[in-house]
Symmetry: C2
Subunit: 700 residues, 2 copies
């Protein structure tokens, strides 16, 4: 539990200083200035008193208990100081200074040393190389941080590894006049992690919205678990940066090459219900609304405006984002015709006219609140000098108090002149923005979250007809042989074990067996050379398709035997399927996260159009359906231009079986079912590759 970190009763500063522009001085000053409710203990060898607070020579001299200790001393002195803290019974150490893992191996060793000593003492570390925390709770007022933005109390909590970005976000809220609840930036994060802080914010009653910034996930498995729990309780608005770095690190394999570096993070966000942003400013603007407004029940907006153009812009943004602006009921229109000015427009948007006063605005808002087919309210509010804008603002605030539907306001005014109007909205908790697009994007974010929140991806289906032992036998054999790429026999054996339908096949050692196999399978058949050393069969002309008689099969096999100088050469004889549509299912292991599963349509759709969808395992039926329906080329699978559609249920089941297969066997690094031939009523894998990791250590 991080209670003692975020709600400390006492804070000591080892390395406290009388020097004005030093961090050791600033932390003491920040605690004092912010009105910290607990005890402050500056620790200094030189000074008896710092900023009027009694100082001590050693942490051991401090009279009372100490919850949190800041260390603002050189890294090499930190391990000893941690031992002192251990003796004192300190609960948390915040290592503000640098000189640890971020500077190289020597620093990393010190960091390691600190961590192991802290563990011995039961001390938790925040940092090193970090800003620290802030808690604005009036009962706490902890500013354990050397930065300079002094927030008002609020309900947004911020967490980030990067102090720079966290601070920029923090400043943005301060400038918007929006308070924050808690703040944490944990730098090198050698001990206290982002998921721990997330969970703490999740449990904190005072936190309504969590803002998260990450550049990468250290422990995606834990993050996934915690984020899912927390996001179920309150909105997490997140941004991931570092999206273009190492974008060229494309893996050699098909699936790997298509999976972008940051895809896994996006998928975790999606799977856990985190609302993802790519722009910090938009994130901050949205967070303000999340902190004060209820979540809309749906995507239907009522728009009220007292000026034309901005309504056009807002409509564009909302409609483009998939929101709708439904017509008003006849009853509502009748009421508005009575209460608004004669020239007012009583559609949706409702144009109350620039001359509208508080009474007209109120009538329009009341109507929109009452209309069943409307979930949220978008207000364009320009302040002509000839109306009493402040009284309009008061009416908006009055309705906003009821928290029936979210209200987002585009306030177009000169904030230096219309001070009372601005202040009324701010105090009344009505989020207001300076541009129609901005306000509309915020409403879009609220609405998107409402969709994420209700989205039910369903349960994971476990197929109990699978033959785990058979799969295990194959994989153990592969491991024992020290191989990474599975032979055709292995691959089709595993597919068979997991109920994944493949075109009928046999393995033949020579031409005679091949002819026999072909007869069993029935013509036409395809002959594929199969040997461990052949990775890409088509590169060595090891595939011949559409063979219609025994003579052809015999000739092909004999020719390959002669030409391909490969030991252990065998032949895969397989039913040759034609017609149907080619689709691809792939999977790729993702450290700490299970696997990414991919679906796409064969040929140019994957290779040229990059039209593929990924999901994280385990993939549910709902997710598998989404994988199909989210493709740009999805209509092709439903049958267009006279072509038949494909057996979507079959593909959905196949995706789920692949998900179960790779989940059961984490040793599987990559799996490519490419192509799968999908007909109207059935699907067959006709080519497949599986590679495993040699460091495989058993089933999960």
């Amino acid at each position: 539990m991080l209670d003692s970190l975020f709600r400390p009763k006492s804070v000591a500063v080892i390395g406290a200083s009388t020097k004005d522009l030093s961090i050791g001085n600033r932390i003491v000053k920040n605690l004092i200035d912010f009105g910290f409710k607990g005890s402050i203990y500056p620790i200094s060898l030189k000074a008896d008193e710092i900023l009027g607070v009694q100082a001590y020579k050693s942490i051991l001299d401090v009279p009372g208990d100490v919850d949190v200790v800041h260390m603002v001393i050189r890294s090499k002195f930190v391990p000893q100081a941690i031992d002192d803290c251990g003796e004192k019974g300190v609960k948390f150490v915040i290592l503000n200074g640098g000189g640890f893992a971020e500077v190289g191996p020597e620093g990393a060793a010190i960091q390691e040393d600190c961590l192991s000593r802290a563990k011995t003492h039961g001390i938790r570390i925040l940092g090193p190389n970090c800003q620290g925390i802030i808690n604005t709770d009036p009962d706490v007022r902890a500013y354990c941080n050397f930065t300079f933005t002094k927030p008002d109390p609020g309900s947004i909590s911020i967490v980030a590894l990067s102090g720079g970005v966290a601070e920029a976000i923090h400043q943005a809220f301060a400038e918007m006049g929006i308070g924050t609840r808690m703040y944490a930036s944990n730098g090198n994060a050698c001990d206290v992690t982002i998921p721990e802080i997330l969970r703490y914010y999740g449990d904190d009653q005072g936190t309504r919205v969590i803002v998260l910034y990450v550049e990468g996930l250290r422990d995606p498995e834990t993050f996934l678990k915690v984020a899912r729990e927390v996001a179920a309780k309150k909105p997490i608005l997140a941004m991931k940066a570092g999206r273009t770095e190492e974008g060229a690190k494309a893996a050699a394999s098909h699936t790997g090459g298509l999976a972008k570096e940051d895809l896994a993070t996006d998928l975790i966000f999606e799977k856990t219900g985190i609302l993802s942003f790519t722009d910090e400013e938009e994130l901050c603007q949205a967070a303000v609304a999340f902190s004060s407004q209820p979540i809309p029940k749906g995507n239907r907006v009522g728009m009220i405006t007292n000026t034309g153009g901005p309504a056009v812009i807002a409509t564009d943004v909302l409609i483009n984002a998939g929101l709708i602006i439904p017509p008003l009921s006849e009853k509502a229109k009748a009421v508005l015709r009575e209460k608004l000015f004669p020239e007012a427009s009583v559609g949706n948007p409702i144009d109350v006219l620039a001359t509208a006063g508080a009474e007209q605005f109120r009538a329009a808002i009341d109507i929109v609140m009452e209309e069943d087919q409307i979930d949220s309210v978008y207000l364009n509010f320009v302040t002509p000098f000839f109306v009493d804008a402040e009284s309009i603002a008061r009416e908006i605030v009055e309705v906003n108090k009821e928290r029936r539907k979210p209200i987002i306001c585009n306030l177009m005014t000169d904030k230096r002149q219309w001070v009372g109007t601005v202040e009324t909205l701010k105090q009344g908790g009505v989020p207001y923005y300076s541009f129609p697009s901005t306000a509309a994007k915020v409403l879009t974010a609220l609405t998107k979250y409402s969709e994420i929140r209700v989205r039910d991806i369903g349960q994971v289906r476990r197929f109990d007809d699978v033959d785990r032992e058979k799969a295990e036998y194959v994989l153990r054999k592969v491991k024992e042989a020290g191989r990474e790429l599975l032979s055709a026999t292995d691959v089709y054996g595993i597919l068979d074990a997991y109920g994944i339908p493949a075109a009928d096949w046999r393995i033949a050692a020579d031409a005679a067996e091949a002819v026999e196999a072909a007869a069993e399978i029935d013509f036409p058949v395809v002959v594929k050379a199969d040997a461990e050393t052949i990775v890409h069969k088509s590169d060595v002309a090891g595939v011949v398709v559409d063979l219609w008689d025994s003579d052809s099969v015999q000739a092909v096999v004999e020719e390959m035997e002669e030409r391909l100088e490969v030991k252990d050469l065998k032949f895969l004889i397989q039913k040759y399927l034609s017609g149907g549509k080619e689709v691809i299912i792939g999977a790729k292991a993702e450290e700490g996260l299970g696997h990414l599963v991919m679906f796409g349509i064969g040929g140019i759709y994957v290779e040229i159009m990059k039209d593929v969808i990924f999901k994280l395992t385990p993939v549910t039926k709902v997710e598998a359906q989404e994988m199909i329906s989210s493709l740009r080329a999805a209509p092709l699978l439903e049958g267009v231009r006279g072509e038949k559609g494909i057996h979507q249920e079959g593909i959905i089941e196949l995706i789920q079986r692949v998900s179960q297969l790779v989940s059961d066997w984490p040793t599987i690094q990559e799996l490519d079912l490419n192509p799968i031939i999908a007909y109207k009523d059935k699907v067959f894998v006709v080519d497949a590759r599986i590679s495993v990791s040699n460091s495989y250590s058993g089933e999960r």
Copy 2:
């Protein structure tokens, strides 16, 4: 010329009032408060004096000349007042009030009356139903407007029909502390148009940047012409709203259905070199940088940062937008190693560290300014309390004065505390923003403009081998017959006249002629039923392909003759082409703009993937090349997966010939060459449709 409107020497207000919250009072007050350098003449039947200024009973009583007259009287009194103004020799009338075309036919009649009287008197009208103009030129100080935002002098000029949006933009600049030059909102725009105002801003020495907001273009032809001239002189940053309205107004035809409502405006922006935005806030943020910074020579950014995370975010944004962050030269690195702190990172980004002072920042900026491979400077500037941020700001300003390369600054600070730093940057004309993404987007806009500016779309090629007389003969015949859809003979005749290659074809009246034609063309052939009444041949089974002998041709023709009960039934016998790739070229008339020309790849690429590119006529070779290379599926045309590429030069020429054809004959409403079979070395149209307007009145 609009000089008397934007630089009036005297302004009268008909309908001036002593009533505080009236528009007739406010305009007089605004003129006074803003320090108008000319004479102010309130015209009022009731008052002798308004706000201390002598009032007159009639405009005819005013002693001096009057350049501009505001009319703040009911619309029905306006026509007479315009006559009075005519007698007085007034140059411009600003009609602030409503009650004109926007309220219906009666108002429209009044507007028409006003306009015709004004024309008689040589008076120009701004509005009606408009805000008016502002000019901050210290020699003028004209606030001929009833709004409330009082701008400082600056170099950004704003023009918009919508007063609401113009005002929101105006307020944004004011809030950012950025001055503006001129402002105009012309409401119903019955006389003075957006293009006229654009041209005036283009000629105005004090205007460096033009901000334009439109919801639609009244006279796209003039707009195109003027925008091209003005954009060549100075940046025009524009936004078009109303993008989703009537999106369902999809035309019945293929090309028409794909062309979105607002596509033409986007294409005009592209063709004229206007920088297009979809978000007002981003537009305003960019305008600030355009007003003070030079345009970068290229897309290579030097990034300087004193904090890590924000550099990651900025890198993401810049790289995603196609900018590059090139390595520094060895020489530069050596200098930086000497001048920066030892732990600083001397790559690009240059991390000068949070402890960097003015000296370190200056060293980094100087290096980036000198590096030949860098075109612009992105600064992340956080203000730790332990550095002298103001002196850093002074160094930035110092370098900025030289205007060698644009500098964009992400300033992360508490603006309420770091007042001096903020003020230094502002006074020094360094554009600063509160978020890394925001600053990076602004730099992206500057860079994009630099690319637009140097983009040479080349000259229009006129093919002189075309047979205009033949085309004219066909079109005249069609017109005389009152037809809108051309027969196959007509269509192929026109294609032939314009040197557009089609698969060899003949028209046959009966089976005997068909057999003869097929023999001439050589098998295989396709037989298509051809008659005026058959719009979609395939709907009536009027197309049979791949016929290899005379008997088949005869049988097919006889079967169709019997089955299709159509008068004037003829048969198009055409060479049957197979293999090759199907592509589509289309054209659609666009009122006042010539035609939209479309290119796409046949089949699902157009219909399902919506992968098509449009350009406005006349299409140059460069534009035709862009049409091919901009397709998502472009690699297909270069040959992938063992397929051959297509004859791109042939397609490029074909697009240009189509462009010339439809430009020569504006009567052509729609043209569809679908499909065109493209081989490696040649291209052939194998099916084509052309429709014309019956209101055709001759060649252009």
